[in-house]
């Protein structure tokens, strides 16, 4: 998480140069997409379950890709997925190589200067694993012993927000989890998707749960080129629409639902008010 800002500076500078070079201030991207019949989208190719290469047919699949497909469908065009990594996302958008970015793209003020964001369609944050029934609400944290990984933002957030919680920091997550199993701490903290991945590998996972709350919030949205108001409107309208007709929840359940490899409760629905982190 720490490297996000630093990682964005260099691509931003590079793309600033590119933008000057290819300043094709054409009429409207939405018309171009419809004319070409193809929506070009950048997605991760190695970040399951958001975007990764399916070993069966070598296609990029994942949560982000499914949301992108829904947008392409509502535009009535074909979807073309371009693999990207975190550092290239803004560059791809600004250089016009892709029309939209669906790549677990966290909305930050710095990035808003470079690109526009749709309404968030995914949220993640600092969450907890506890033995079933011990942790129901964030208020309880103040009276618990919490295991954390040394030096993570999660540890610092718990210390800042719950000053009466006893925090025991371990060298890494498996140690923290061992302390939870032996009862030395009552809960451990990490980013929600990481906890899910950890819990998936635990033999007695039925005894543990990830309580349905976060104490910090990162919101992920669709990256849209700056100034493409009509395209942005279509993306937002599509996201709102698929939430209303249940398709968004279906897509979420496919990757994070109770039967998936990494079950994570859906705490955020498209259109929900955003909490400040």
């Amino acid at each position: 998480m720490k490297h996000r800002i630093r990682g964005a500076v260099l691509p931003a500078l590079l793309t600033a140069l590119l933008a000057v070079a290819s300043n094709a201030a054409h009429a409207d991207r939405l018309d171009d997409i419809k004319k070409a019949g193809v929506l070009r989208v950048a997605a991760f190719d190695s970040n399951p379950p958001f975007g990764f290469v399916d070993p069966k047919d070598n296609q990029i699949v994942g949560l982000d890709v499914d949301y992108a497909r829904a947008v392409a469908k509502s535009l009535g065009v074909k979807l073309e997925v371009q693999p990207t990594n975190p550092a290239n996302r803004i560059a791809f958008l600004k250089s016009g190589k892709v029309d939209l970015v669906f790549a677990n793209f966290t909305i930050t003020d710095e990035r808003k200067k470079e690109v526009d964001f749709s309404t968030p369609y995914f949220a993640s944050g600092t969450q907890f694993i506890a033995k079933k029934g011990t942790l129901k609400s964030p208020d309880q944290l103040n009276s618990l012993r919490i295991g954390a990984d040394k030096g993570t933002t999660n540890e610092q957030q718990v210390r800042a927000k719950y000053p009466n919680a006893t925090i025991v920091a371990y060298d890494d997550t498996p140690f923290a989890f061992a302390a939870l199993r032996t009862g030395n701490v009552q809960a451990i903290t990490q980013d929600g998707p990481k906890l899910v991945a950890l819990l998936a590998r635990v033999p007695d996972k039925a005894n543990y749960e990830i309580p349905a709350f976060t104490i910090s919030n990162d919101y992920e949205g669709v990256g849209v080129p700056k100034g493409e108001a009509r395209l942005l409107d279509v993306v937002n309208a599509t996201l709102t629409h698929i939430e209303a007709d249940g398709e968004a929840a279906q897509i979420y359940d496919k990757w994070f639902g109770p039967k998936s490899a990494a079950p994570l409760p859906r705490l955020f629905k498209i259109g929900d008010p955003q909490k400040s982190s």
């Binding site: 025991v168 302390a179 032996t182 009862g183 030395n184 701490v185």
Partner: protein, 243 residues
């Protein structure tokens, strides 16, 4: 580098230093007592006791301290009944007027057990080396004078053995202070743990670890001074008293 640490972080480091000192003093006292018993046991006439004592030294001296600490904290904890663990992990306090005694956290408790068991093996061996440094002829002479085993130990062997063992014992106490930093792995909030925490919050790496180093060097220096003072005054007084 240009700014010094805020008082809050300095207080964290001080708190860690107090933890380190408390842990080392408790461990040092217990390890000295049990190390002494261990040395006597190793020289006991009963073969069973002597063998049990040497097995103890074999196990605790031949495995890394970090592994032992992880064993006490994670391994032994898994073997204990769950209501014991609940008791150990909830705060307990007893108050007598202005004095409040708090039961330590399980991290501290496990760290104390682990360090004590490990240090006992080394302290015991230093005591035994001191006892073997006293010539066997003295033992025979004492026996010839009609002294029993206890009287011989008390008045002939131990006063000399203690003097021989003092410098290496001081070395073991210095090792103890440094070894105590390993308890950060099981979450004991001692000096090393706190310096790492200050580092991650402030990114002032030099200051955080620099101050911790200074605290360690200082406490070891105090042990060295104590050794010199003891050798100059204490041991002679002891000798005169016994003579």
């Amino acid at each position: 580098m240009h700014t010094w640490l805020e008082p809050k972080y300095f207080a964290w480091l001080e708190q860690g230093f107090v933890f380190t000192l408390a842990l080392c003093v408790c461990t040092g006292l217990c390890a000295t007592l049990s190390g002494f018993v261990l040395a006597i046991a190793r020289t006991a006439q009963s073969a069973a006791i002597a063998r049990a004592a040497s097995l103890y030294v074999f196990v605790f001296r031949n495995s890394p301290l970090l592994v032992q600490l992880l064993f006490w904290y994670f391994g032994a904890a898994a073997l204990l009944p769950s209501n014991w663990m609940t008791w150990l992990n909830t705060p307990h306090a007893a108050t007598w007027g202005p004095v409040a005694l708090r039961w330590p956290s399980f991290e501290l408790f496990a760290g104390w057990i682990g360090l004590t068991c490990y240090t006992t093996a080394f302290v015991g061996e230093e005591f035994r080396a001191g006892m073997r440094g006293v010539s066997r002829a003295q033992e025979h002479a004492a026996a010839a004078l009609g002294m029993g085993r206890y009287t011989t130990l008390r008045h002939v062997i131990l006063p000399q053995a203690l003097r021989i063992a003092t410098p290496p014992l001081a070395g073991q106490y210095m090792n103890l202070v440094k070894n105590s930093s390993l308890t950060m792995a099981i979450g004991v909030a001692e000096l090393s743990y706190m310096s790492r925490q200050v580092d991650t919050e402030t990114f002032k790496t030099f200051q955080a670890f620099g101050i911790a180093t200074a605290f360690y060097v200082l406490s070891i220096a105090v042990i060295e001074v104590a050794l010199v003072v003891w050798q100059r005054t204490g041991s002679r007084a002891l000798q005169r008293g016994r003579a």
